[in-house]
Structure formats: structure tokens, C-alpha cells
Symmetry: C2
Subunit: 327 residues, 2 copies
Amino acid sequence: MSEFTWIDFLSSQPDLQENSVSVGIGDDAAVMRVPRGHELVMSVDTSVAGVHFPKDAAPYDIGYRALAVALSDLAAMGANPCWVALSLTTPTFDSDWLAELYRGFTHTFSQYSLTLIGGDTTQGPLALSVQVYGLVPTGSALLRSGANVGDIIFVSKALGQSALALEAAKRGEQTALAKSFYTVEVEIALGQALRDFASACIDVSDGLLADLYHICKRSQCGAQIEADTVCIDKTLLEKVEAKKALEIALTHGDDYALCFTIPASRLRAWQALRAKQFPHATLYPVGKIVEGDSVFVSGIEDLNLQQSGYQHGMQSDVVSNRSTGKR
Amino acid sequence: MSEFTWIDFLSSQPDLQENSVSVGIGDDAAVMRVPRGHELVMSVDTSVAGVHFPKDAAPYDIGYRALAVALSDLAAMGANPCWVALSLTTPTFDSDWLAELYRGFTHTFSQYSLTLIGGDTTQGPLALSVQVYGLVPTGSALLRSGANVGDIIFVSKALGQSALALEAAKRGEQTALAKSFYTVEVEIALGQALRDFASACIDVSDGLLADLYHICKRSQCGAQIEADTVCIDKTLLEKVEAKKALEIALTHGDDYALCFTIPASRLRAWQALRAKQFPHATLYPVGKIVEGDSVFVSGIEDLNLQQSGYQHGMQSDVVSNRSTGKR
């Protein structure tokens, strides 16, 4: 398969052309229309072989994960995903391999009404740079910068499973756990629902403490996490002792949960909508926004928080560890 | 320099926030507004070390070229560039190296009122994936698909110099010729002017014949190039014999000229505007759109057109070579 054959293959796929796309794949650039009263939300996420996924991963899994982690940023903005572009750097143009990659990459396309608008294909070390586009009503995007003292901090799912999944995937296991490293669940519907309630939102890709610190920095505030309210993945709790599990849950990236803050005044309305629209979701409060500029963990002593997601060797002021004794 | 320090560095640069950008660098995604009556034009271009530029190239040059070749696609659409995102994959985070890359990358920002809206930074083999965004009045983008039989084919500059420049750059020469491989001149103003005149347009990145074939394929027509009207770079003509120079000019990529077609009915109006707005540009007709589905070169015998830009081993029906004898 040549580069041009690959582009022809992409162009010939059904459902790739959509109303809002004036010019799709096959010209020098794509041309799109943004509906009146809406803003365009754009994020890009690069996945490099050997860094973000094992070099010998299955192409379907590589494609699946690359788009999912990119979409997670749109979820965190409360955006409705609409267009995708894929910049693929690949050492070889193997038809079967590329078709499988494409199948994994596009598997959520119908779910979110996504349209592939273009991209780029180059020869080189395997990497996927995925650009995702979404729409929000003007002024309604969820930002990191809106948290205020007193807001309650929520996390959208149990944390820490991804650490086990990553290890299993690295070992090349053919288990459900290893598979879950690739089939990242993205909180698109939750993000959109949060537009009317949350004061700030981020997706947990660097680790809860690191990502919460991003909210604190942009919102000029601090955060206090209650150790015993953090929902830890059950499998992780079975495998390692409780304190170690908490450390992993607080610092490991890759969970792609949403971490968001709800002002106390909107809490009842949010809980009512949550019960109705997300009855099975585990959306537990894990702490609150406080004065200051640090993220504290209270209710436990001597946590070892050196491991901080992708950003190893994080500065000591980013994550503080404060014991408040027994509560 | 850590990934987060690099993002802080980017966020602190002046003139990065612009009116149409609601949320720039520093959140999960960027949020932009598209003015009413306009469409969004998007292209992405990936430059890989060792494939698109020599591995030991200067960071300033790498940054300069990566953005320029991406902008060339917007020029070919007649778009007004507005936003840029940079996905950088880099083996190390060296402050000086990154600052130089940034200086080269942004050197045209003020010229085109460009705003850096975001991107992504990952560790891995050196590569830059550059997303560029432009605006066009709705329905006015220059496409590959509008050429008709009888239209005159133009090329915006002398061709073939880039082949010499590439060789000089590969040898690591510190000459003006080697430098010109990186400091690609992009035809933004020309592209915008062409919106009212051209029936089709493309930028010459794969080689004139290959790119003209793209126009033919999308426009369902053929093209005839007159060998002795092709404007060949003077330095190239000094270095190799005339026929070889023509072969290079017809097939080498990297020149980033615009190749466009003008209907006969608009020719006088276009020439008048050209003389006024682009008095020093060498915008020569090189042939015309004809019936069929191939690109022919007439006026010369036995051209060796095996070398076809980046896409080596091109199918024989893409580029035909027809001798029409002496004209």
C-alpha cells in the first residue's frame, strides 16, 4: 500500500463526509463550517510507539487508544466531538496492519457522529498524532480556571486500574486487564452534562494530584483530598496493600477519569441530574477547594508520592502531603 | 526543561492570545471563534527527523521549515492563516534547543497574525506535527477539483532549486543554498488573490507532474505541459544539462510553488491584477488542461520521469511522456 492508496482507502470509507464538512479528505486542506452560536474546541494528542504504547501492540488497539485519549480532552471541555484528523507516522505501509489500525481508530465514529476530515501520512518511527474537534455553545466550555474555595472535588471513576493494565499490556498479556489499557472509556456524555454545573474540569491523564494541581494553578487556589474518600479500583486493592494502592490511585496517569469541581450552591441540582442521567456512575466527592496554592492529602500519614504519572521528578511544591491525624 | 516548563514558556510568550481565541494554551483544549460568513480551513503536516530534514539540522531551521511547509497548504486553499498548533515529539527537553526551535517556528507569526493555540509535547524520536488553521469567506476556498478543459496552467516560481538545496542541506553545508531548504517561501498572498480567478490550485510538494495529476484526478481531466515553457531554476541549469534539469524541475518536490489553473475567460483580468499586485513574480503559463486523465509533457523526447518527488515508483499512468516533435 502506498501513501496515496492509503489516502484513497480513507476517502472511500462511508460516513466520512458530513454536513458541516465542506471539503474533506483529498484536497490540500479540509474546510469546515462552525454553526452560529458555537465555538470550536480543538485538542491534539500524540501517541508514540514505545512511549505511550508497547511497540508490538495490535494495530486495532493502537488506533482505538490513540483516538480515545485524544477525545478525553474534549470530554474535559464539555464539548460535543465532531471532526477528527489523523497524522500517522509509520515505518511501513502494510495494508492489513493499516486497515486494522483504521478499524480500531474509527470504532467510536458512529457513537459520536465523528467525521474524519484529513491528516497526514509520513514514513518514520511509529506515532499517531490525533487532532480532535468539538463544538460547544459559545462561552460554555468547561475550563480549568473556574474553581473557587469551597467547591467540592469529584472524580468520575475508581482510580488505579490503569496502572495494572499498563503493566499487563507491557507484558503482552492477552487478558481483559491488558485490553483495558487500550479500550479507554471516555466521559463525553458526563462532560457535556457538567457544562451547567461544574466550575472547573480536567481529565486525569497525569495522575489525580498532578491534574488537580493544574486546576489549582489556573484557578489560583489549593485543594484538599480526603484520603479515605478516594475511590480505588477493586483489583488494585486486591493486589497491593491499601496504602500503596492509594499512592498509585493518586499519582498514576492513564485513568482518563474526569476530575471536576462543583460549587456548593449547585450541588443538589447536580446530584439530582446525576441520579437521573448517570445512575450507575461512581461520582464520589474526594475533597474540596481551599485557600492556598497546593494540593494536600489529609487523613493518612507518610504517603510516598514520588511517582507522579508521566511527569517524574515533579517539584515538591506541586504535591504536598499533610497528615491531619485520625478523623 | 520539563514538559510543563516548556508549556509555561509557550504560554508566557507575547502576542499568543488573539481576539478570535477564547481559550489558548494551558487548558485541556483550545477554544476558538470562527467569524460569521467564514469557513475554517485546516491542514496538518508532519516533519520527521531523518526523513523530512537532516537529523543534525539547526533547531531554528527545523522550526522554520516545519511551519512553512504546513502553511503552504493553506496558501493553496487561498486561506488567511490565523491559528497554529504544534505537536512536538522530542528525545530531550534542552532549553536552548527548544527556544531556538520556537524562534524559528514563530518567526512568521507577526507577518500572518498567527496565534499559537496549543499542541502537545511528547518524548520520542524527533518529529513536529504542525496543524495550521485559516479562514476563507464561505464557499471561496481554492480546490483541486475545479479545473476545466481549456484552462491555462500556471506555476508560481522557477522549479528545481529545492533539489540542489536538499542535497546541500544533507551535506550540512552552511551556504545560502543549504539554508534555502529550510526557509521555504510560502505563497500566502498569491493564494488569497487567486480566490477570484483560479479554477483549481495545489502546492507543489510532491513534484509538478505528481501534483498536477492530483488536480487532474479531482477535476476529471488531463493536462498538457509544454516542455520549453517550464521555468527552471538558474542555478540548476548551470549545474546539470538542460534535459536533466527539466526532469528534476518536473518531478522534484519541496519547491512549494503554487500550481493553478485559470479559465481563458478570466485570463486578462488575472494578468491585470498580477501585474499590479505581483509585479516581480514569475507566473508563467506552462500548459493547459485537456481531455483525458493523464499528464503529458510535449515538446521534448525521451524524458526520464522515474524520479517523482517523494512518491517513488509512481504508476505509469500517472505521468505519461509524449513527444510532439519540434514546435
